[in-house]
Symmetry: C2
Subunit: 148 residues, 2 copies
C-alpha cells in the first residue's frame, strides 16, 4: 500500500507549479515538464485528465497553455488524488465514494480490520481534504496544525 502512483505524484507536482504561476496566464506544457523533470508526453496525459475533471483549463495554438480552473485555495489535494487513484481508503469496504464489499467478509459491521481502516482513512482525509494547493506553498512551517 499506500503508495502514490507516478501519475498522481506528477499531477501534484504540476499543479503546485501551476499554482505558483497562477497569476501569469497560460503555461506551456513543455515548461512544466522541464521544470519538474517529467516526460513531456506523459505529462500531456496527466494534464488532459486534470482538464477533463475540471481542475485545469487550456487554450490551443500560440499563446496557449494550461492554467488552474480555480484559485489555488479552492483546489484540495484529496480531490486530485481521487482523480488518479480512486479511493483514499486502504480498503474498498472502508470507502464512501468507491465502496465495494469484500467478497470473503462474513460480517462487515463487526470486521475488526475494516474498523481500523476506517480510522486510517479518516486520518488521511483529515490531511488531504483540508490541504489546498495554496496551503502547500507555505513551506517552512507547513501544516503545523496537524501535529499540534
Amino acid at each position: 500500500m499506500i503508495s502514490l502512483t507516478q501519475k498522481a505524484k506528477y499531477a501534484l507536482k504540476a499543479l503546485v507549479f501551476l499554482a505558483k504561476e497562477y497569476e501569469n496566464g497560460p503555461v506551456l506544457i513543455t515548461k512544466v515538464a522541464e521544470s519538474e523533470g517529467i516526460s513531456r508526453k506523459f505529462l500531456e496525459l496527466i494534464l488532459l485528465e486534470l482538464k477533463n475533471n475540471g481542475v485545469l483549463q487550456s487554450k490551443k495554438g500560440r499563446g496557449g497553455g494550461y492554467w488552474l480552473a480555480r484559485p489555488p485555495e479552492d483546489i484540495y489535494l484529496g480531490h486530485i488524488i481521487r482523480i488518479f487513484e480512486g479511493a483514499l481508503a486502504p480498503l474498498p469496504c472502508a470507502s464512501k465514494r468507491y465502496y465495494r464489499r469484500c467478497e470473503e467478509c462474513a460480517d462487515e459491521a463487526t470486521c475488526e480490520v475494516r474498523a481500523v481502516m476506517l480510522e486510517v482513512k479518516s486520518a488521511t482525509l483529515r490531511v488531504l481534504d483540508t490541504t489546498s494547493l495554496r496551503d502547500t506553498l507555505h513551506l517552512g512551517k507547513p501544516l503545523a496544525l496537524v501535529d499540534a
Copy 2:
C-alpha cells in the same frame, strides 16, 4: 493509492482470528482459511511469511498449527502491514525505513508534495503503530481516542 493488497488484508484477518484464539494453542491453517473465507493455499504463503518475520510460531504434524509468537497486545498493525507492503508512506521519499529519492526531484528539502506526504504518513502511523491486535478486538467503541 493507499490500497492494501489482498495479501495484507488476509494477513490482518488471519492475525485477528489467531488473536482471538491466543489462549487455545495451535490453530490449523484450514480452520483459519475456512473461518475467514480465504483460499487455503494462498493463506499458506501468508502465514509462512508471518512466521519468517517472527510474528507467528508453528508446529508440524498432529496437534500442530499456528499461533501468535507474542501476546496480541505486543503486535502492532503497522509492523504487519510493512511486512507485506513495505513503506507506509505514500512516497518513498517520505519514508524513513524504506527511503528512496525521487529521480526527478530538484530539491527534496523544499518539495511541497513531499511535505504534505510526510503529514499523511505521520497521520497513518499514528493509527497503525499504536493499534495492537488486542486493540482491534474491542469493537463497539473501537479506537475512540483517535477521533477525540
